[in-house]
């Protein structure tokens, strides 16, 4: 789906939107997820599903490095797309390129994080759930369950989104969580590392993982180490669902990130055709939802299909 014939939006100006309505609309989604990341895969799927449903073309790109991400946004601007969806884990780094898009008359919607800067940079809306707020939800739930010594497993060192989740968890819990670094690309070693931590500190009574793949090995690690710790995680996949069903994982924080992909495309299409905006400048929140044994069965099939 190369942008054939430039779809007539070239003129710029805020009102260019309606003119584009008759051509094929093409939108770009640029996120800070790394390739193959389970969370962002669902966002991608949401965006692509929206594209299909609405008959617009959606090009998804991502890079975890802020500078690269801004270059990808710049590429989308150069391609003269009809709208850009961008996740702003690092708003300062993206300011230039987002503003360039706005200046070129391309409507921008921010997703996931960066709600505060969204309007300031000229975006027409924000869909998301701040990672910190999601983390708070998890922390509060763990506190409810009686956890006091929580291990937060970071699977990518220095990743801002993951740090925000752990920070949020600390706030929700009311005490500092303990961090552990593992490598998402070597889950076997991750399992051993979590085992080590549980062996060396038997007082850990909850493990919070930030990725569904890590959640499964954390559950296995707990049983390896003979620990009674409660396992909770961010994000869902089929394994997590069955684990919640059989009780080895107590709950999962679901940001419903499918919506973070789907909704902005809808909003951009509406804007292009009808100059509609959503939320009146306020962010549209997608979560957090908590999936536990009470509601797991309803969404089991959806998560296995990769849309939750």
């Amino acid at each position: 789906s190369t942008d054939d014939s430039g779809s007539g939006d070239g003129g710029g100006g805020d009102s260019g939107g309606s003119a584009a309505a008759d051509g094929d609309l093409s939108f770009a989604v640029v996120t800070h997820g790394s390739a193959g990341d389970a969370f962002w895969d669902v966002v991608q799927k949401g965006a692509e599903a929206a594209g299909e449903d609405l008959g617009v073309s959606v090009d998804y790109q991502s890079d975890g490095d802020p500078q690269r991400q801004s270059q990808l946004v710049q590429a989308a601007v150069n391609q003269d797309v009809d709208g850009i969806v961008v996740s702003m884990a690092n708003p300062d780094a993206l300011q230039d390129s987002v503003e360039a898009a706005v200046a070129a008359g391309i409507p921008v919607i921010t997703i996931n994080s960066g709600a505060e800067q969204s309007a300031q940079f000229g975006a027409i809306g924000h869909v998301g759930q701040d990672e910190a707020i999601a983390g708070q939800g998890a922390g509060q739930r763990l506190a409810q369950d009686g956890a006091t010594n929580v291990l937060c497993v970071v699977h990518e060192a220095g990743n801002i989104g993951l740090e925000q989740r752990c920070d949020g968890a600390s706030q929700g819990l009311g005490s500092e969580v303990r961090l552990l670094q593992v490598d998402i690309n070597d889950l076997q070693a991750a399992q051993s590392t979590i085992t080590s931590q549980l062996q060396s500190d038997p007082t850990i009574d909850a493990v919070l993982t930030l990725n569904s793949g890590v959640a499964s090995v954390a559950a296995a690690a707990a049983s390896d180490a003979g620990s009674e710790a409660e396992i909770a995680t961010f994000d869902l996949n089929g394994d997590v669902i069955s684990a919640i069903q059989d009780g080895s994982i107590s709950f999962a924080v679901d940001q419903q990130q499918y919506e973070q992909g789907y909704l902005p495309i809808v909003m951009l299409k509406l804007y292009a055709q009808n100059l509609n905006t959503v939320g009146g400048g306020q962010p549209v929140l997608t979560g957090p939802g908590i999936v536990d044994s009470t509601n797991v069965d309803e969404i089991a099939d959806l998560a296995s299909a990769g849309t939750r």
């Binding site: 193959g36 961090l179 062996q199």
Partner: protein, 353 residues
């Protein structure tokens, strides 16, 4: 010819006056394997002294587990490095094979052994392609395997999403034949009441076989020669191309073994499994005394290098050091291990250069 010549051995076999007496210790310490053994002992002592869980049976089983799969790859990568080449695709290839096992077993509904067989064929084909391209084009293996590394990374993600719609292949445990596969690849063995992963046995086996091949067979001789000086070895009739291709296929086979172990053990495989591990394999081999320029090294050394890495990685966790500083400590420990090793060898070699 040698038979017809009168051999004028002028001097009887006696102690050569050109050799100074050297203690057994020094003689042993000069060997590359033993050098890395020192590093391993230092790290072991360091962590054991500070954490009783680390030195307990369950701790040992834990860090041996980490060292085992890493070690299988490190040994194969060491062979390849001795032969003068790199394989940057080795890490991601463990993911490719694990995903193949998963996809064939679950999406194509085959017996797990069929899936494992298919993964082997694929791995060998990729190894062959790597080797063939390297020997044909004469380009550095670093750049060729970087190309295959990136391509495989893309394939892993693209195909996984194509087959499963998500970034993870799951449900391997339901495949027919799973239990026999689990027994062989992912079970545990009780020693003194502590379960040890069977992968440790595979690691020891791989090390033993690689050592034997390297030191006791013709092929091993060719590996050293090809890595030491490819032109010279070809000039004396070593089939350097064949050796190189075989080495790439060996690395691929090791990746297949590790990938199968991963798939069977975790029963679900993420699309980015193994990415980035290739460097760690090379590091383990280098800690174990392999030369990056080829022609020198040992399989046992690489296995010990993997052990050093595994112990360090887990040991830091056992000591409960701040996780933010994890990589700092990891780096410091590795430098500590290689520097002690170096110091000891310097001492042993005295003025030798």
């Amino acid at each position: 010819m040698s038979a017809t010549r009168e051999a004028p051995v002028e001097r009887p076999v006696r102690a050569d006056e050109r050799l100074a007496a050297v203690g057994i210790w020094r003689r042993l310490l000069v060997k590359p394997e033993l050098g890395s053994l020192i590093g391993a002992v230092v790290i072991l002592a360091f962590f054991s002294a500070q954490s009783d869980v680390f030195r307990g049976l369950s701790g040992i089983a834990n860090w041996l587990d980490v060292a085992s799969t890493l070690g299988i790859m490190a040994v194969a990568v060491a062979l390849l490095m001795i032969g003068g080449h790199f394989d940057l695709s080795a890490g991601v290839l463990t993911g490719t094979t694990a995903l193949t096992v998963g996809i064939v077993a679950t999406e194509l509904d085959q017996n797990i052994w069929v899936a494992i067989g298919a993964a082997l064929v694929l791995a060998l084909a990729i190894g062959f392609a790597n080797g063939w391209l390297v020997t044909r084009t004469g380009l550095p293996s670093f750049i060729i395997t970087l190309g295959t590394f990136l391509m495989l990374q893309g394939l892993n993600l693209g195909l996984t999403k194509l087959f499963t719609g998500t970034v993870v292949v799951r449900g391997i445990a339901e495949a027919p034949g799973y239990h026999s596969a689990e027994l062989l690849l992912a079970s545990t063995i009780n020693v003194f009441g502590q379960p040890f992963r069977v992968a440790i046995v595979w690691w020891l086996l791989a090390t033993a076989v690689a050592s034997w091949v390297l030191l006791r067979t013709r092929f091993g001789n060719w590996v050293f020669a090809t890595g030491g000086d490819e032109v010279a070895s070809r000039n004396v009739g070593v089939p350097a191309r064949r050796t190189t291709i075989t080495l790439f296929m060996t690395t691929a086979a090791a990746a297949w073994l590790v990938g199968s172990i991963t798939a069977v053990r975790l029963t679900s495989v993420q699309a980015n499994t193994g990415t980035g591990q290739e460097l760690i394999y090379i590091v383990a081999a280098v800690i174990g005394g392999c030369l990056l320029t080829g022609g020198f090294g040992s399989a046992i050394g690489a296995a010990l290098g993997a052990l050093v890495f595994g112990m360090t990685q887990q040991g830091i966790v056992y000591l409960d050091w701040d996780a933010d500083w994890f990589y700092f400590f990891l780096g410091a420990m590795l430098l500590l291990a290689v520097l002690t090793n170096r110091l000891v060898r310097r001492y042993a070699e005295a003025a030798r250069r």
